[in-house]
Point group: D2
Amino acid sequence: MANSEFGYVRNFEQPDALPPSNWIVVRIDGRGFTKLCKKYEFEKPNDRRALDLMNAAAVEVVRSFVDVVLAYGQSDEYSFIFHESTTLFERRAAKLATSIATAFTAEYCMQWPTFFPADQPLARPYPTFDGRCVCYPKRKILRDYLSWRQADCHINNLYNTTFWNMVLKGGMSNTEAEQALKGTVSADKNEILFSRFGINYNNEPLIYRKGTVVYRSYERNSVQNGEGSRIEAAPPTSKTQLEKERKRKQKATVAVEHVDVIGDAFWEAHPYILASKGGDSSDK
Amino acid sequence: MANSEFGYVRNFEQPDALPPSNWIVVRIDGRGFTKLCKKYEFEKPNDRRALDLMNAAAVEVVRSFVDVVLAYGQSDEYSFIFHESTTLFERRAAKLATSIATAFTAEYCMQWPTFFPADQPLARPYPTFDGRCVCYPKRKILRDYLSWRQADCHINNLYNTTFWNMVLKGGMSNTEAEQALKGTVSADKNEILFSRFGINYNNEPLIYRKGTVVYRSYERNSVQNGEGSRIEAAPPTSKTQLEKERKRKQKATVAVEHVDVIGDAFWEAHPYILASKGGDSSDK
Amino acid sequence: MANSEFGYVRNFEQPDALPPSNWIVVRIDGRGFTKLCKKYEFEKPNDRRALDLMNAAAVEVVRSFVDVVLAYGQSDEYSFIFHESTTLFERRAAKLATSIATAFTAEYCMQWPTFFPADQPLARPYPTFDGRCVCYPKRKILRDYLSWRQADCHINNLYNTTFWNMVLKGGMSNTEAEQALKGTVSADKNEILFSRFGINYNNEPLIYRKGTVVYRSYERNSVQNGEGSRIEAAPPTSKTQLEKERKRKQKATVAVEHVDVIGDAFWEAHPYILASKGGDSSDK
Amino acid sequence: MANSEFGYVRNFEQPDALPPSNWIVVRIDGRGFTKLCKKYEFEKPNDRRALDLMNAAAVEVVRSFVDVVLAYGQSDEYSFIFHESTTLFERRAAKLATSIATAFTAEYCMQWPTFFPADQPLARPYPTFDGRCVCYPKRKILRDYLSWRQADCHINNLYNTTFWNMVLKGGMSNTEAEQALKGTVSADKNEILFSRFGINYNNEPLIYRKGTVVYRSYERNSVQNGEGSRIEAAPPTSKTQLEKERKRKQKATVAVEHVDVIGDAFWEAHPYILASKGGDSSDK
């Protein structure tokens, strides 16, 4: 057959399965969002509509990829956490990264009209997102990853909030504000915000200060059917059970919260999110 | 700073730059397109609107990624060829694959209403595409890759054309047609098409038999300004030249053709497509 | 300079640093040892001199690579475990594998005359070993790796002991013995050994049944200076401390034991071997 | 079986086959040879015995690995070139690098007494070599790699020859010589050698200036049986033919030469060394 002469080219595909027993983070980042912000006149320092759209897109991605245990987003980035035991796409890196990134992109484009006015329809170049997989071998390190993103959110937001108040309310030029902030620490920026603009940073909306956590919530169900605590008691083994489990997850409420994930409180309140599958041995 | 405590997690990102002096193919494939075909009642064996949409999306991707020298598509897949000398995204595999795949996805979703009727708007799950990078170390092997995809297009289309004629016009069930075609070779299928349905396969539209080639065409310009033959004579070196080159490419006509790429004719007619950059040494 | 014209070829070297916070196993295997066994008439089923030579080589490798926390050997293979926190050679896989494999090979060749008679000097082809790195993300999985090798040792040794007794004492041909053992389970082999040859397998030498564990032993020191329990209390931080630590390890007694590593007893008796460095967080 | 419980650990081994149709270079480097030079009082700037030992070891490695088409060595390093079509060890990187490195190490250790006096036997730490694989996608780039190493040999040898003459004959301290050579170009060093020490650098032994090339030479055979030019005419296909080919290679004379490999002369005189296997398509 004509095909067989050329089939050898398949041998150039390199395997890219990620190592087992590692948490997989797929982080996506908006491509060229600085230009996009200007084009659609996003509000500064934060555009609530743009963040709501990011979160709405993330909710649908979490809903459709049942092996994602949690997602965390801020600014124009989102991190999707696959359970360390996932076998989705045989853990192939390219397939995981492109599937998540294109699903997010499709949602972002299609939901745009829900969040932005009709006189601001999407025009080319359309919003797109690059993505990559990173493996974290231990639960503790995965949590440090999430802490890193949330700390980054805080640092950037404090800076941006101060900067844009100096520019928009304080009448400074961008360069003047930049100069004025050079070398300042958090306390300095808090002080500037409070003394010059009457803003108590800690009263700023949580969505800006903490970013957004998206996860499947079983709490409401638990209350209703009283079986919440047994949900992860035994890993599903048969095919029927796995399918049942998948459907259960697809129907689960997807929670969207702006909470601290650096401390232990969130994790202690939702122990099932990072729970081991199939026994307690996987992280010892 | 709070961030520094967690910054170590960055060390878990693995480098993924593809080796220099290799042609990079980013192939994307529709995810779950069998279901999509049913949902929107795509015509069998080929839905012209769906193929036109694929090609329209590919044209925009080629236009915006100036390092793509050619793209080839058939069915729900598209291959984008980056020149072996590209340094886009420092040749990082994840960035290349996700950028192409999300750009294609965005175009596919946004251009959908241009090709499908208003009573068939996109509904969830939205169309998405997975993608991967493959490196080809020599021009000859890259051409064999394209031949492989085009031979695959031919084989599938001959089968599908015969199968669906047997079902739609011949009144067979899917299972009956499948059984009848088991073990047949190309000549058998050609004969079935001709004797039973009066179809000369070679008169079927080229877009179905050959798939689609998309590339930047400099011919028209050449005629106009008489400098076509010098286009690749010297590689751009300075930053200004590179920027000029990029703009020239973005403005170039993007050709969409349904031609044979297995033989030499196409390549001899467009020698600049796979031409070396910066001297003739790169493929010796 | 002449060199700069060609220096670009360095860009073809791909980075190969192994991900942080993973235990690194370098396993080496004798190349073509079946032929070697015949050439030097190794005793069947086990040649004590050959095993002693393997162990003597391993001791020197463990002594000189202070980041190796334990080695396990059986037959013509040896696994060297690097602590998950090692930064030796920046964790580059090729450098780790080749350094260990060549150090072992040099020791094996140079120590050969100590274990084999003068009328059996090494002749070409000289003994060599291939090697590879494998990453294990958790202590539990690393222990399962060691259990896998030790279980393999047991299974092979039970088979070989039975097989060679049937051949050497039972007068069977190799083929007859092979046939007779087909489909037998452990109990069958134990029974054959006992009833036909009066051998209680459990009384066979431990070195054959369990393989060999090599590790740095701090017990003797501990008894002498009473500080054993504090050895890993704080990770060394300054350069001087690190150097001191390295010297301490180089001077430590290297223990060679034929003990069970599948159960917990060995690990509980030597908790420092797999202890975390720098705090207790690394495996949570 | 006990083993099956632990067998899952095999899934942590990552595939490492190098991409097809790339020339594979395994370069090995002496580990800690600065210390070794001092310990055995190697002569400066070049120790002929040490170089002869390196070359003798390389000859045996080339002889036993028939897929190595050429090796190039200088100082304490050696590069072994595998034909781009090799399938040895399924092109697995770790296996290739460790097999070459341990074979070289064994030869180096075992042949030591042939080149060094009996009162300088090898003592621990024994000489070892690290190694790595690098892929080169085109013949031209492979040649540039070899040119890079030979240019490096020249640059280092010119420097070292000048430096050590200044120290050993010129009575300078190491620091003084180093200072004096700072910023000098080749012409300066040639001048220093000639005017101060009466040395015409171009008359220095070729082995020091060019390094060493090792390859299978078919010339003598050709003269004898007149079939030299047909040697690579057709690739061996059947198993018997392959085995015959392997034996022919093992018996071939291994040439050891100190010649220029930067220019074309060497390659034109030995076209079979980098010739394609199985037709001329592989490098187009």
